[in-house]
């Protein structure tokens, strides 16, 4: 009854509009999945039937089909190597961002100090600034420092950590808001050390936020293109750069096969986050 009444302010056309927006957002996702499973050389409607040949080609398992269509033997393992590298890079930047982001959140949420809003905005700002400019700034800085950081793994990792940390700060802060500080005080007054209190009281309670932060920063790093452009390592490309290069010279749907993995990864990790709590709060937008 109350539920019904709550919709009263909404003109009926809004439901239709909301549906259109969802269709606009989801159609490209569906198209990528269908294109990745097509049997032909490119996607058309109706498709030339379905097969796993492009998925296998992406995995480096079906070189025969790949050679036949583009005449480039041995090119396909490039993707799975890049996938592995991006995975490793995303994993390392997530670990670093989690540590830095959690530390920053604990101070930014719990302490009242002059300039607090400024520092909150400062730590969140890399989300909104042009990634390619951040990458170029780091490249120039590395070259000026002369420590061998340009186009190195560590240099690339640092760039990713700078853009991933804000996402951790957002989700961890969201779960710190509902945190009852007296629990920590109780632990401390019963003789627990600061580290014990953090590990046994604080961490379990903010775990949903930390998990969500880990997942978001992994995804941001894994799909990062803009920041990577100027920091990329010559011998080892990330998956988004590999796909981009492939798009310039080929027309086969291997990128769509890569897209199937990316969409699955994102949707699965969002499902996990949703189980841990309210996605509205973790997105950094909801209350």
């Amino acid at each position: 009854m109350i539920r019904e009444e709550r919709g009263l302010g909404m003109p009926p056309i809004f439901r239709f509009g909301a549906l259109l927006a969802l269709i606009f957002l989801l159609v490209p996702m569906v198209v990528i999945v269908v294109a990745g499973l097509t049997a032909g050389g490119y996607l058309k409607f109706p498709p030339d039937g379905f097969s796993l040949r492009w998925v296998l080609a992406f995995l480096g398992l079906g070189p025969g089909s790949y050679v036949a269509s583009t005449g480039e033997a041995g090119a396909s393992p490039v993707f799975i190597r890049a996938f592995g590298f991006s995975f490793l890079l995303a994993l390392s930047s997530t670990v670093c961002s989690l540590a830095l982001g959690t530390m920053a959140s604990l101070v930014l949420i719990r302490h009242n100090f002059p300039g607090r809003s400024f520092f909150q905005a400062f730590f969140l700002s890399p989300i909104m600034l042009p990634g390619i400019v951040i990458g170029l700034a780091l490249f120039i800085f590395y070259r000026t420092l002369g420590l061998g950081l340009p186009r190195s793994y560590v240099g690339l990792l640092i760039g990713h950590v700078i853009v991933c940390t804000p996402f951790v700060i957002r989700t961890v802060s969201a779960s710190l808001h509902s945190f009852d500080l007296s629990l920590e005080e109780a632990a401390r007054s019963l003789g627990a050390s600061a580290l014990q209190t953090f590990r046994q009281i604080t961490l379990p309670l903010i775990k949903p936020g930390v998990m969500a932060g880990a997942i978001f920063s992994f995804i941001v790093s894994f799909g990062q293109f803009d920041v990577t452009v100027f920091l990329a390592i010559p011998q080892q490309q990330t998956l988004p750069l590999t796909i981009f290069d492939h798009l310039r010279f080929h027309s086969d749907p291997i990128p769509a096969a890569a897209g199937i993995f990316a969409i699955t990864l994102v949707a699965a990790s969002l499902l996990i986050t949703a189980r841990a709590g309210d996605l509205k709060a973790f997105s950094g937008f909801g209350k």
Binding site: I32, L100, M128, H177, K287
Partner: protein, 294 residues
């Protein structure tokens, strides 16, 4: 917060203040200093042999930027595209944002969130590829229209500004939806119910109650979408096909194809500064970006 509570917690809290050290040092060293280096370099005389910032301060690059059409065109084009993306994102995203703000059931709201967050989080290169399949000359739209004999030749839907805008919308709409949802959650549904029970129809209720109260979300979402659209490099690079020159692609070209480090840095600084100004207004619209002290 009541004063006695604050008094009890202060000494305890202060002990953890050192935790800001490592993140602050990282951000100073690898975010503030690099941006400083970029800013420094943008004031140096053009020198293709060196990208080391030098103590040679002049405004030549900026003068060059604002007097040559290549640069001013890119500037105007970047912000014009961003403006179009912002307005259309608002139109497309508003109903969905409202619907999601009014969805209180956790399962339903998480389901809608997954539908909105998945497209937002899949990498931009792959999403742009999805748009290429839809908008290309042999893409879905053109092949369907050609098969139905509605058009004699493929419509130019990508490798132009149109393709860039449509693909940026795919980033802008979810961001707009989430911003609107956040702000609209704070609108008390009873206000709308009151308007309705006093005899206002749905349209009047919307125009006089819902829309004005959703203005904070409209403002925040618009600033966010605008700044993210202006920042994008991937989308104009892939969907523009080299024909849509924005500040980000121009910066890349200046550096990668002609090693004009100082001029590239200048373009980068101008893009960064405009973004910073918008970020400043965005933060002003939300006084504590992460919320109040717990």
């Amino acid at each position: 917060m009541n004063p006695t509570k604050l008094g009890r917690e202060w000494p305890f809290r202060q002990r953890s203040f050192w935790l800001i050290g490592p993140p602050l040092a990282t951000f100073l060293f690898f975010f503030v200093f690099p941006v400083g280096a970029l800013l420094f370099l943008s004031f140096n005389r053009p020198n293709q042999a060196s990208l080391r910032p030098a103590a040679d301060f002049n405004l030549g690059n900026y003068n060059h930027f604002f007097t040559e059409e290549l640069f001013t065109d890119a500037l105007v084009r970047t912000y014009w595209i961003s403006l179009e993306v912002t307005i259309v994102s608002l139109l497309i995203g508003y109903p969905l944002g409202y619907l999601m703000a009014r969805t209180e059931d956790r399962r339903q709201s998480n389901f809608l969130m997954i539908l909105v967050l998945t497209p937002l989080q899949v990498d931009t290169v792959i999403r742009a590829y999805g748009m290429m399949i839809i908008l290309g000359d042999v893409g879905l739209i053109n092949s369907a229209l050609l098969a139905a004999r509605l058009i004699p030749t493929p419509l130019p839907l990508m490798f132009n500004e149109f393709g860039v805008i449509v693909t940026l919308l795919h980033i802008g709409v979810p961001i707009m939806v989430l911003s609107l949802m956040g702000a609209m959650q704070n609108i008390d549904p009873e206000l709308e119910e009151a308007a309705r029970s006093l005899g206002a129809n749905r349209l009047i209720t919307f125009l006089r109650v819902t829309w004005p109260l959703s203005m904070p979300g409209v403002l925040a979402g618009s600033l966010l979408v605008f700044v993210i659209a202006a920042s994008s490099y991937t989308v104009p690079r892939i969907m523009g096909g080299g024909k849509v020159v924005t500040l980000s692609t121009l910066m890349y070209n200046k550096i990668q194809s002609s090693a004009e480090w100082q001029m590239g840095a200048t373009v980068g600084v101008i893009l960064l500064m405009t973004s910073l100004i918008i970020v400043y207004f965005y933060q002003r619209s939300t006084p504590h970006p992460l919320g109040e002290v717990t």
